[in-house]
Every structure is written in structure tokens, then in C-alpha cells.
């Protein structure tokens, strides 16, 4: 039962989001360097951290799929990666907005974290055409899991490599804020992080429940020997 616990989870997510937004705008102090612009970080960074953990989770689910051969783990892996990619879009757009506000350019190559994230995003974006190109469902699920494991191993390595490519000792604005982050900012940041984590989990559960419901309908159809409707996705794994 995928929907079990979805309601309390979503309530918790909403509550946490409301709390963090309030903290961001009514409680957290203004940053000395960046001023009001710094507030973007409370949405940008938690989204990024959650997305990255989500990608790694997708890899973990993939390992479980490969070892157990239970298709449900493939569904978990797919949805985890899918939601994280959507979060990734938000990370990149909010990152660009922050860059424009801070540096006057929509993109800067000087922020290693943002650049690393772009590379990771580009890799996971290939997950969809990759799945699409493999027609046999069993093989598709297996290969997708191999992809997810490989990509999951890639994430930390990539961040390390990009960070090392930073030649200038460039005072990264978030680092300056992070280094001497006052308690109020840290609290706000942590609340935002928890909120995004809850949101991610809620959306993953939501998506899995929807898939499960579709799967149950198909199951009903088959039990009644009724024609199975068209419109089943070539890539999204079925849940039943």
C-alpha cells in the first residue's frame, strides 16, 4: 500500500515549508555582504542538497533492485531520480537568478558547487533517453539500475573533481556566509532543509501511489478480461 502515511507526511511537509518560509522572511537576519539577495539560498541550497541525496537514494534503490529482482525497487529508483531531476531544474534556475543578482550574469563558472550540480544534472537527464532506448522491459529495468548505481557513484567524485579545478582562491559568497553563519541563519537553513526533504519524500510517495493506482486498474482490467487501455508509458516502470 503506497498511499499509507501519505496524508500525515504531506501535512508535515506543508507545516515545515510554512515554518521555514516564515523563518526566512521574518526571523533570519540580513546577510552583511549580500543583503536581501542571500535569502535565495534558503530555497536554492536545500533544494540542491535534497536533489543530490535523492540521486544517491535512486542508486541505493537500484542496488536493491539488482539484488532482489523485485520490480518495485526499480519503480522506487525511477521515481527518486525523476523527482530529483525536477528539483534539479529548480536548483539551476534559482542558481541562475542568484548569479544574476550577485554577479550580474545569469551563469558563472566560478561557483564549483553550481557547476558540479550542472554536470550531475546533465548526466541524470540522459536517464530518460537511456531508458527509452531499451525496449525489453526487464532489460530496461536492469540496465536503468546499473545506470543509477554508476551515476550515484559519480556524484561525490564529480563534486570533488570540480572543486579541485577551482584555481583562484575565490571567496565564494555562500562560504563566507557559511563560515561565520549566525545561529538564526543556521536554524532557518536547517528548517528549510528538512522542509525540502519532507517535500521530496511526499512527492515521491505521491507519484508511487499514483502509479500503484494505475497498476491496480490494469490488474482489474486483466481480471475482468477487459481490454487493457493504451497510454502506458514506455519508460516509467509499472507498479502493482
Amino acid at each position: 500500500m503506497y498511499g499509507k502515511g501519505l496524508k500525515p507526511l504531506s501535512i508535515a511537509a506543508v507545516a515545515m515549508l510554512a515554518l521555514s518560509l516564515s523563518l526566512v522572511f521574518f526571523y533570519a537576519p540580513l546577510d552583511g555582504d549580500q543583503g536581501f539577495i542571500q535569502k535565495i539560498f534558503y530555497v536554492h541550497v536545500p533544494l540542491a542538497i535534497t536533489a543530490l541525496i535523492g540521486f544517491v537514494a535512486g542508486g541505493v534503490f537500484a542496488i536493491l533492485h539488482l539484488r532482489s529482482n523485485d520490480r518495485k525497487w526499480d519503480a522506487y529508483s525511477y521515481v527518486a531520480i525523476h523527482i530529483s531531476v525536477i528539483f534539479g531544474v529548480a536548483v539551476l534556475i534559482t542558481g541562475a537568478i542568484w548569479a544574476k543578482a550577485s554577479w550580474g550574469h545569469w551563469w558563472v563558472w566560478d561557483e564549483p558547487t553550481l557547476v558540479s550540480f550542472l554536470i550531475v544534472f546533465l548526466l541524470y537527464a540522459t536517464y530518460y533517453p537511456f531508458r527509452y532506448a531499451i525496449e525489453d522491459r526487464d532489460r530496461q529495468a536492469r540496465y536503468a539500475s546499473v545506470f543509477a548505481v554508476t551515476a550515484g557513484a559519480f556524484v561525490p567524485l564529480n563534486f570533488m573533481a570540480v572543486r579541485m579545478a577551482e584555481s583562484l582562491v575565490h571567496p565564494r559568497t555562500f562560504a563566507t556566509a557559511e563560515g561565520g553563519m549566525p545561529g538564526e541563519m543556521m536554524l532557518t537553513f536547517l528548517c528549510s532543509l528538512v522542509a525540502m526533504g519532507l517535500l521530496w519524500t511526499t512527492l515521491v510517495k505521491f507519484e508511487l501511489t499514483a502509479k500503484s493506482a494505475s497498476g491496480q486498474v490494469k490488474r482489474l482490467r486483466r481480471a475482468l478480461d477487459a481490454p487493457v487501455g493504451g497510454g502506458s508509458s514506455r519508460i516509467a516502470p509499472e507498479v502493482s
Binding site: 539488482l66 533517453p129 537511456f130 532506448a133 546499473v146 557513484a153 559519480f154 567524485l157
Partner: protein, 226 residues
């Protein structure tokens, strides 16, 4: 149970032999690389390169040539039904991974043996940096081979095989390229080679090779199940 080493040697020998016989991808890869150098000469409007430009041109070209050639690795295997034979044989599937990856390292080394001297002739003022470059080339080859073997052995069973390998392999190779160019840039600098962070970059390459070698080793079994 056939000892793994014999199986490894056999598959490796078969691969290299078939490559020599058909002479398929290696000359094509080399030609592609050299032509790309010419394109860069005009694209950048430079007749000599050093430092970061030299490093970038060399590695971008090698990467694209490699990605083009990697596809060929499993093509003949599939066409000749080699996969089925291996599946039936009582050997550890990961031996296939090791053999394929090693063959790919050899191909890449052969490619570099041809193209790097030509690159030096075309663009470099002095060849002093080429010696230590060998270490960088070798470590990068291993990394490319590990991920390349992994991706191409999946792509061979797909519809858009020729598109899939470059698409997925390129982002995966970025850390390799970062480290390789990072090490190469000081080697090819105007005043003679310098070894700024050379050992650090080599370690990054080694780490990449280790991680993806292990990943390939761990998951390859699952790719041949059918």
C-alpha cells in the same frame, strides 16, 4: 570451471585479433583525431598551442575520438553472437568486463601513440612535456575504458546505440577530463613543463579508475543475465 585468467586472456586475445583483422575503428579514430586538430587550428586561428589551449584541444579531441570508437567494441560481439557463447561458458562474467576494458585501454593507447606525436608536430614548441604526459594518458585511458565498457555493453542492446554512448558517456567523463587537463596544462606550458599539482591530479584519475573499475566489476554480471 575455467580459470579466470585463461578466460580473460582468451577473450582479450580474440578482441585484439578481430580488431587487427577487420582494421575497423582504429584508423578511423586516428583520422578523425588528426582532422579535428586541423579544425581546431582554423577554429582557434592558432598555429601553435601551449598551456590550457593545448591541453584542451588535445583532450577534447581524444575524448571525442574515444567515444566514437567505443561503440565498435561490442558491435562485432553482438553480430557474431559472441554474447551467447560467453553466457553459456562456465566463466565469471566479470572476466568479460575486465577483458573488454583492457582491450579498450589497448585501443586507446594505440590511438594516442599515433595522434599525440602528430599533435606535438602540429602545435607544440617543444616535446619536453610529453614524457610525463604518458602517465596521464594511461590513467585516463583506464577510466575511459571502465565507464566506456559499462555504457557500451548496455547501449549495444538498445535502439539508439550510436547516440546513447556519447550521450551518457560524456558527462561521466567530465571528472576525468578535469583531472587530465589539469595535469596536462602545466606540462605543456610555454616555458617548459611544470608539475603544478601533478600528483594530486594523478591521484584523482586513480581514484576515478578505482571507483568505476569496482562499479563495473560489481554490476557487470547483471548486464548479461537474460
Amino acid at each position: 570451471m575455467t580459470p579466470s585468467r585463461t578466460a580473460f586472456a582468451a577473450i582479450l586475445a580474440k578482441d585484439l585479433r578481430s580488431e587487427l583483422r577487420t582494421l575497423q575503428s582504429l584508423p578511423a579514430m586516428a583520422l578523425f583525431a588528426v582532422t579535428t586538430f586541423v579544425v581546431f587550428r582554423f577554429g582557434l586561428d592558432r598555429t601553435s598551442l601551449s598551456g590550457s589551449l593545448a591541453s584542451g584541444v588535445l583532450w577534447a579531441t581524444l575524448l571525442f575520438a574515444a567515444v566514437l570508437g567505443i561503440n565498435r567494441l561490442f558491435v562485432s560481439e553482438r553480430e557474431e553472437g559472441g554474447f551467447d557463447a560467453i553466457r553459456l561458458a562456465p566463466i565469471d562474467r566479470t572476466v568479460l568486463f575486465a577483458a573488454k576494458a583492457t582491450a579498450l585501454v589497448v585501443y586507446l593507447a594505440a590511438l594516442e601513440l599515433v595522434t599525440v606525436p602528430i599533435f606535438a608536430i602540429f602545435f607544440l614548441e617543444d616535446a619536453a612535456g610529453l614524457g610525463p604526459l604518458v602517465a596521464v594518458l594511461l590513467l585516463t585511458n583506464v577510466g575511459l575504458a571502465a565507464t566506456g565498457t559499462l555504457i557500451s555493453s548496455m547501449a549495444v542492446n538498445s535502439r539508439a546505440r550510436d547516440l546513447l554512448v556519447p550521450l551518457v558517456l560524456l558527462p561521466l567523463s567530465i571528472p576525468l577530463m578535469i583531472a587530465a587537463t589539469g595535469a596536462t596544462e602545466p606540462l605543456l606550458s610555454l616555458g617548459g613543463p611544470s608539475y603544478d599539482r601533478f600528483d594530486t591530479w594523478l591521484m584523482v584519475l586513480g581514484l576515478y579508475d578505482l571507483i568505476f573499475g569496482l562499479v563495473g566489476y560489481a554490476v557487470f554480471d547483471f548486464l548479461l543475465e537474460d
